[in-house]
Amino acid sequence: MSSLPGLFDSFDNLDQIDVGSLIPWIKNPPNPIQLENYLANRILYPQTMPLNEADIKIDLAILREVLRLNGPKKNQNGEMLGENPFLNITLRKIIIPDKFLQYVPNLTELTWAFVDGLLLSRAKEDFFGDLWTVIVSDHVDEIVGSILLPQFGSSSDVMDLNILGKGYKIKAGSLTLIPCPKDRCELSYKFSNGKFLGKEENAIEISGGKLGIMIDGRLS
């Protein structure tokens, strides 16, 4: 196939995506036959540009799945192994190529797609993967924010969070974005029944930026 630039030109296994796995990511999904045709035409014509919001949602669903397919694999203990162009496990960084923003200009939506694709299935057995720095990578890497993956004890659990002096209540199961344009953001937190970085209560400093702080409270 041609190597014309597009959102998916970094991936050569789009054809391995199960169409059924895309449907949960799309609010009003087309029927599976149309969805599979859309995916197939994406393989055939990788350079094309979605014209409407519905198509960009499908592209994001494809991105989630192809990131998951190409993501680090788990070992027998459920730990993620190996390096990946989009995930530095050692340094806990999510690396988003800058060129992806040409195809998905909304950085928040793009970052959620990376979180869903690369971190959603992680084992929340230790606090190693609770905090990730988000980097937009071009010739120079730019830190744009952080992702917090708190470990809620139950579905009724709440994380009391204070960022830059402002209080937030983060419920288990929620997805939250809090702006924090500074390079370093001070935060403190307290759980009723959960932990973050191995502690029920603590104060830390994390990276901020144009994305801000994303908190993925979904229960595994």
Partner: protein
């Protein structure tokens, strides 16, 4: 600003065309011999394949009981329109199934109620189909290569080996091709349809002995079924399910482009070749005067050429013929009449340079990323 270029039609070029016996037989030409379209260059005894009939469904009986309604035993020969199976319903009415072709009953599956039937071998003459000069005769493979003048139509993808047959139009460029479109009158033919063909229709076409289908689009799921479960497009394919298919536009329902539909329409009733795996249609010249050009043109050595025009690009300019490849206006063709000087934010939130295209019926604006220049 550059955009991809796709060669869809190469008109009246000197090329090589391959002819193959469909079974064991005899080649009747030799190297350097001049041939005309009506010349018989070989003959063979071939089996036209097999057909699977779901008798349980046709008779409305449980699969395990199907065999007792058969009027012939497995292994026996049966001829077209002879009684194959029958069952009386509770009102005493007969449900009957007749044989769709001359064949032998191979096997009945008690779990599915399906009967497999092999068609009887038949003698087939192989016409040259073109004006040309025989370059290669391969008795072992039953293959002849003829240098000829032809127009080549390049589809987007396809499936199936090289096959020859008479081209017949069976629908408009935007029609769906249904199962009911096929009958025994199309046996040995290459059919040109419209915007979409379904798996059931392809199965019916195989059963009726259709050699090839040219269509705008096919559902990805059905294509995967023909391509071993894959949606990748390697340079060299080796798929064959007993029919050759060329899709000219893409996946899903996409009307066949006017450029290809018009040239194929001009060949209605004429003998052509189709190579599904290379997604190429060979439309030979039927003018005897082409012989002098064929004689005077030398071609390079014969190699397994891989056709790859997809990475070519060309500079965008007004007047170029383009085709839409994005999800909206897919397959539409027209001429570029204006190029925006600045980018526009699209409803998707993406920025793109819009190109105004005049199609046969309207003017549309499409971002440059969703276009390719066509030749």
């Amino acid at each position: 600003m550059y955009i991809p270029l796709r060669i869809r039609i190469e008109r009246d070029i000197i090329t090589r065309i391959y002819r193959s016996l469909t079974g064991t037989g005899q080649i009747k030409v030799s190297v350097n011999q001049e041939v005309a379209p009506e010349d018989i260059i070989g003959s063979s005894n071939s089996s036209a394949g097999f057909r699977v009939l779901n008798l349980a469904n046709l008779l409305s009986v449980p699969p395990s009981e199907t065999e007792k309604y058969l009027q012939r035993k497995v292994g026996q020969r049966i001829y077209k329109d002879e009684l194959l199976a029958q069952k009386k319903d509770f009102l005493g009415r007969n449900k009957i199934v007749t044989s769709p072709a001359d064949g032998i009953l191979d096997y009945i599956n008690p779990k599915t109620g399906e009967l497999r039937m092999s068609f009887l071998p038949k003698k087939e003459d192989l016409p040259a189909g073109v004006y040309g000069i025989v370059e290669v005769v391969d008795e072992e493979k039953g293959m002849i290569i003829i240098k000829t003048q032809a127009s080549l139509v390049h589809g987007v993808f396809g499936s199936g080996k090289l096959r020859d047959g008479t081209l017949n139009l069976i629908g408009k460029k935007d029609d769906f091709i249904a199962k009911s479109a096929f009958s025994s009158q199309y046996s040995g033919k290459i059919l040109v349809g419209g915007s979409l063909i379904f798996k059931e229709a392809i199965s019916e076409a195989i059963s009726e002995g259709v050699k090839g289908i040219i269509v705008g689009g096919i559902n990805a799921k059905d294509y995967k079924g023909m391509a071993g479960g894959h949606l990748s497009f390697p340079k060299k394919l080796d798929n064959d399910i007993g029919i050759s298919i060329v899709c000219t536009e893409g996946f899903g329902s996409i009307p066949m482009g006017m450029d290809i539909y018009e040239i194929l329409s001009a060949y209605d009733g004429k003998y052509i070749s189709i190579d599904g795996n290379k997604a190429v249609i060979y439309l030979p010249s039927f003018e005897s005067k082409s012989m002098s050009k064929i004689k005077n043109t030398s071609l390079g050595p014969i190699t397994e050429a891989l056709i790859n025009h997809e990475s070519e690009v060309t500079e965008m300019k007004i007047g170029l013929n383009v085709r839409v490849i994005g999800n909206s206006y897919s397959g539409e063709q027209g001429k570029i009449i204006a190029i925006d000087k600045s980018e526009t934010v699209l409803p998707s939130g993406l920025k793109g340079t819009l190109i105004t295209i005049e199609t046969r019926s309207r003017k549309i604006q499409v971002p440059v990323a969703n276009l390719e220049v066509i030749l």
